[in-house]
């Protein structure tokens, strides 16, 4: 019945090389363009003829922006508002990538580890940069939790350092695992539908529908969790505790 992981394989559409680096256009790249276009169109349509009493589309966009603003103010304080474009891009890119990946035949951009890895790396780099810019060398006291007795420090500091470095990895892998697992399970169930034929095929099909709904929920939740954690990590560096 075919390999359920087959649709995660990338096929090059237009091979391109730049100074020996492989930057060919494959499905993932095309899908990323589609996602960017979708986000752009969404906001363009929502803010065109903006009225004081908003239309439904404008309302949705306003809800998203309000929510992000509250999140940033709460976790990163006033200084954090400088990073609003970054956080908003993060949230809407991940959300639209997750959702558009559910369209049959589309490729899920966020099911590629390295896509999520780069996003998480950006968050990590930003947290370090913001911490160093705002606090200078004092930033390294983030590795020492307040109230730790001195004799615990040799054990606590390696754990804290490791913890800081592992957090972006976990951020990336969480999104990757959720997206990949969800789609793989749906693929496997669809394989079962084909094997079951007419008599038994309706059962797995029902499950597939239910799982599709769950996947939509997971798409929202994972985008939300990624963004919340991004604000928390950067906020940790800004507030230094």
């Amino acid at each position: 019945m075919g390999n359920p992981l087959e649709h995660f394989e990338l096929h090059t559409l237009i091979p391109l090389r730049l100074f020996g680096l492989d930057i060919s256009i494959n499905q993932a790249v095309v899908m990323m363009w589609v996602v960017c276009a979708a986000v752009f169109l969404f906001f363009w349509a929502a803010t065109r003829n903006a009225r004081l009493i908003p239309t439904k589309l404008q309302s949705t966009a306003e809800l998203g922006v309000e929510f992000l603003r509250g999140l940033i103010l709460e976790n990163m304080g006033e200084k954090g508002m400088k990073l609003f474009p970054f956080i908003a891009t993060l949230f809407f890119f991940i959300l639209f990538s997750n959702l558009l990946g559910l369209v049959p035949g589309a490729f899920t951009v966020t099911s590629q580890v390295w896509v999520n890895g780069i996003l998480a790396l950006a968050v990590f780099a930003l947290s370090i940069v913001m911490g160093l810019v705002i606090h200078g060398v004092h930033y390294f006291t983030i590795f020492v939790p307040p109230g730790t007795p001195w004799w615990l420090l040799p054990m606590m500091i390696p754990i804290e350092v490791f913890s800081q470095f592992v957090r972006p990895v976990v951020l990336a892998v969480r999104l990757f695992a959720n997206m990949t697992a969800g789609h793989t399970v749906i693929n496997v169930l669809l394989g079962l539908v084909l094997m079951g034929g007419l008599f038994l095929g309706w059962m797995p099909l029902g499950f597939t529908v239910i799982l599709g709904g769950l996947e939509i929920l997971v798409a929202f939740i994972q985008a939300y969790v990624f963004t919340v954690l991004a604000t928390v990590y950067i906020g940790d560096a800004i507030k230094l505790h």
């Binding site: 709460e74 754990i159 592992v166 976990v170 969480r174 959720n178 505790h241």
Partner: protein, 81 residues
């Protein structure tokens, strides 16, 4: 999509985070230890160190992600952010 402090949303976000965090932190610790092992040819000790470090970090992050206790004053009571 409103108030980020809404308990349902906090519950959902915690559910989506904790499982994967636990597993991945331990895994990354072990993998890091294994990688360093191959570089320094000190099998298997560094991998064990990595495993222990990863596990300790995993549980510490879990503890930290619970947040401050219900009615504590803000300040040093051992539960850092």
């Amino acid at each position: 999509m409103a108030d980020p402090q809404d308990p349902f949303r906090q519950g959902m976000s915690m559910a989506a985070r904790v499982g994967v965090e636990l597993a991945v932190t331990i895994l990354v610790g072990a993998l890091l230890g294994y990688g360093l092992d191959r570089w320094f040819s000190t099998r298997p000790w560094l991998m064990l160190v990595g495993l222990i470090l990863g596990t300790a970090t995993a549980f510490r992050n879990l503890y930290r992600s619970l947040g401050p206790p219900p009615d504590s004053k803000k300040g040093n009571d051992g539960k850092s952010a």
